[in-house]
């Protein structure tokens, strides 16, 4: 069964973990032991049954009713399995949120309809980050409808004001759906709800399915392979790595950058077997007709006549999660750590409005457009063209400081 990764997004306490807990129960995916354990823990804390405890497994998470770190749970619907990626909604845990959401193919955003909650900065920040991570399909679950008597007006109000922001940051209106639910009461998740007669769409799980079953953006078809390194074999050294775009055939002329090697492919091995050609997402071992003394790890293989651009200067959009210390910055790019000799901030972007803003000092949770000068050249491409060669992680020394995409 094909598994689709669904990233849950939203402000803390708007019901992400509760939703996953309820979905696990309603689809029959939760084991008896997990449900019993969640029941016992709810009782121990003197609370009514909390479906989120099926998921939140750290002691601290249950006691403080807050998700600390990302986790996953699987459910199935029709011919697909969904791997639901829970992420923490708390601002300080944005690093863990990004780690989880980076694997998402479809985003499922929760917004509480409760009058004292509604659309928050963190709601929009999560949307902004998910767009940067390349997610282009979005289901917005307007949650806690039970607390507003399943009021259609409140649902429309949230949909109206969030739609503007969603378009502004680049989601296409055709790729966005709004669904009213109550995760805690289990309404309109898997079955239609008698309290939501005014709602004409399908239950949440079907709306997620609609987007999950769609094909993603087609790739450019150009060969790109990330080289992990070289390994010995009986027939000499092999270059190993993963094809991230396009395909590769025996006899093909290739270029390995930045090493600068040009060679022909003599043999291709996939999963231990010799093959004539390999395609995207396959891990290969290549025997080339010549070798290079240069380090292989971190190189990019392309067709000899269609290589990526080699550059030490990248213009990028960065979401900042930590402090920038201009003397200690580096980027992580396809497995290599490369130091930055300079960072020049061109302008700030407010991740909660999508607007340009002036920026004297860059702080955590800001987004910026910046020019980076690197200590060495990398084979880079625009994120839009080949996402694997157009994105990086920013570090300040050992500290994770943000994510960037090349524009």
């Amino acid at each position: 069964m094909e598994v689709k990764n669904i990233a849950l997004l939203g402000h803390k306490d708007h019901g992400k973990s509760t939703l996953i807990g309820s979905l696990l129960m309603q689809t029959g995916a939760a084991t008896k032991v997990r449900i019993k354990e969640a029941e016992e823990y709810s009782t121990k804390l003197g609370k009514p049954f909390e479906p989120a405890f099926i998921l939140d497994s750290f002691t601290e998470e249950r006691e403080q009713e807050m998700t600390y770190d990302t986790t996953r749970a699987e459910i199935k619907h029709k011919d697909l399995a969904f791997s639901l990626i829970d992420v923490p909604g708390h601002e300080e845990l944005i690093k863990n949120m990004i780690s989880g959401a980076s694997y998402g193919e479809v985003a499922l955003l929760l917004v509480s309809a409760n009058k004292s909650e509604g659309i928050r900065d963190q709601t929009k920040r999560h949307l902004f980050i998910s767009r940067m991570l390349g997610i282009d399909r979005l289901v917005v679950a307007v949650n806690k409808m039970d607390t507003v008597s399943y009021d259609e007006k409140r649902f429309n109000e949230i949909r109206g004001s969030l739609s503007v922001f969603i378009s502004k940051i680049g989601f296409s209106p055709n790729s966005v759906r709004f669904v009213p639910i109550s995760a805690y009461k289990g309404e309109n998740l898997v079955r239609t709800s008698k309290y939501l007669k005014w709602y004409k769409g399908k239950p949440l799980i079907d709306e997620v399915y609609r987007f999950a079953s769609m094909k993603g953006k087609p790739s450019t078809g150009m060969l790109r392979m990330v080289v992990q390194g070289a390994i010995p074999s009986d027939s000499g050294e092999l270059v190993v790595g993963k094809i991230i775009n396009g395909s590769l055939s025996m006899g093909e002329r290739i270029k390995v950058l930045p090493a600068g090697l040009e060679a022909s492919v003599d043999e291709i091995t996939v999963k231990g077997k010799k093959v004539h050609a390999a395609k995207v997402n396959e891990n290969v071992a290549l025997k080339l007709d010549r070798s290079s003394s240069a380090e292989m790890r971190g190189n990019i293989v392309s067709a000899a006549d269609n290589p990526p651009r080699l550059t030490d200067f990248i213009r990028s959009r960065i979401f900042v999660t930590g402090r920038i210390n201009r003397k200690a910055m580096s980027i992580k790019f396809n497995g290599s750590d490369i130091s930055c000799s300079s960072i020049k901030v061109l302008r700030g972007i407010d991740p909660t409005t999508g607007d340009v803003k002036s920026m004297k000092e860059v702080k955590p949770l800001d987004a910026v457009e910046a020019e980076l000068r690197l200590a060495r050249k990398i084979p880079a491409e625009r994120y839009e063209d080949t996402k694997e060669l157009g994105r990086f992680v920013l570090y300040n020394g050992k500290e994770f400081t943000g994510i960037g995409t090349i524009v």
Binding site: M1, E2, V3, A29, T31, K32, V33, R34, E37, E40, Y41, L55, D56, S57, F58, T59, E60, Y68, D69, T70, T71, R72, A73, E74, I75, K76, A81, K95, N96, I98, S99, S102, Y103, V226, Q228, G229, I231, S233, D234, L238, V240, K242, T269, K271, G272, N281, E282, N283, A285, R297, K332, N334, G335, E388, R391, V393, Y395, K398, F400, I403
Partner: protein, 262 residues
């Protein structure tokens, strides 16, 4: 239990295993002779053209089942494994987490220091336990072997941690995405040898294998791999329900893992 696509799982694991071998200076893998770590070795052989290019460590407390020792001997020979046996001492009256949480990590610590390993492949899966579901594919442990679960490293896309604490090591989890049923389907597809204790004898079989002190067989008539797959398709019981230490306290696993348990 959800059956995932085996080719996709296989590719991901091969990527992670190669990445670990090529990223770290000196790596080893834990091998308990159970189905998961044996599957990991089969995947390693696919990644490295039929070889397992790193040592495999068995933490041996001398009270594993006789079948397990026989299996170790046979497969180590067949797959030409560079086997390190780390002897763990069993103290009288120590059972459950007192044993698994202390004796085994101590034996492992000793062998890791002796050989200077900076990374260790461990074949845990997310679906085994809520706490294991929180793990990263590559997760650093500090010099005291603590898992800083409240401040885990960021892990995006295919980029795994490289910012190491100098005296610590990195735990590598290539099987994180697999479900129990996927492992058995893969065992079937690849004809991977498995410990005979997994199969039913006199109406009982072991679903999860630990040592003789703490593992209890479950009622089952599954006599072969196909029967096990059928059994898992419908079960609502947890895989580790035959492990005493998991049941001692609901958070035993969290405490154990944060202290270095595998």
């Amino acid at each position: 239990m959800i059956k995932q696509e085996l080719p996709a799982l296989e590719e991901k694991s091969i990527y992670v295993i190669r990445e670990a071998k090529l990223k770290f200076k000196k790596i080893a893998a834990l091998w308990s002779m159970g189905k998961d770590s044996t599957t990991m070795l089969a995947l390693t052989r696919k990644a490295f053209l039929g070889k397992v290019p790193f040592p495999v460590i068995h933490i041996d407390n001398s009270i594993d089942f006789p079948e397990t020792y026989q299996f170790r001997q046979d497969l180590a020979k067949k797959w030409n494994l560079d086997l390190i046996i780390a002897k763990s001492e069993i103290k009288p009256d120590m059972v459950g987490s007192a044993c698994c949480g202390k004796n085994k990590p101590e034996a492992l610590k000793k062998v890791m220091a002796e050989y200077g390993f900076d990374a260790l492949i461990v074949s845990i899966r997310r679906d085994e336990h809520g706490v294991r579901a929180k793990e990263r594919y590559m997760s650093p442990r500090d010099k005291n072997w603590k898992w800083d679960y409240k401040n885990q490293v960021a892990e995006l896309w295919d980029d795994y941690t490289s910012k190491l604490d100098s005296k610590g090591h990195v735990r590598v989890h290539p099987l994180l995405d697999w479900n129990e049923i996927d492992v058995w389907r893969y065992v079937k597809q690849e004809k991977i040898p498995v410990n005979p204790l997994y199969f039913s004898r006199n109406g009982y079989r072991y679903r999860s294998l630990g040592c003789t002190h703490c593992t209890v067989p479950l009622k089952s008539n599954a006599k072969g791999v196909d029967d096990i797959i059928k059994e898992l398709e419908v079960t609502k019981d947890e895989e580790r329900s035959g492990r005493s230490m998991d049941k001692e306290r609901e958070y035993a696993m969290l405490r154990l893992r944060s202290l270095g348990y595998m």
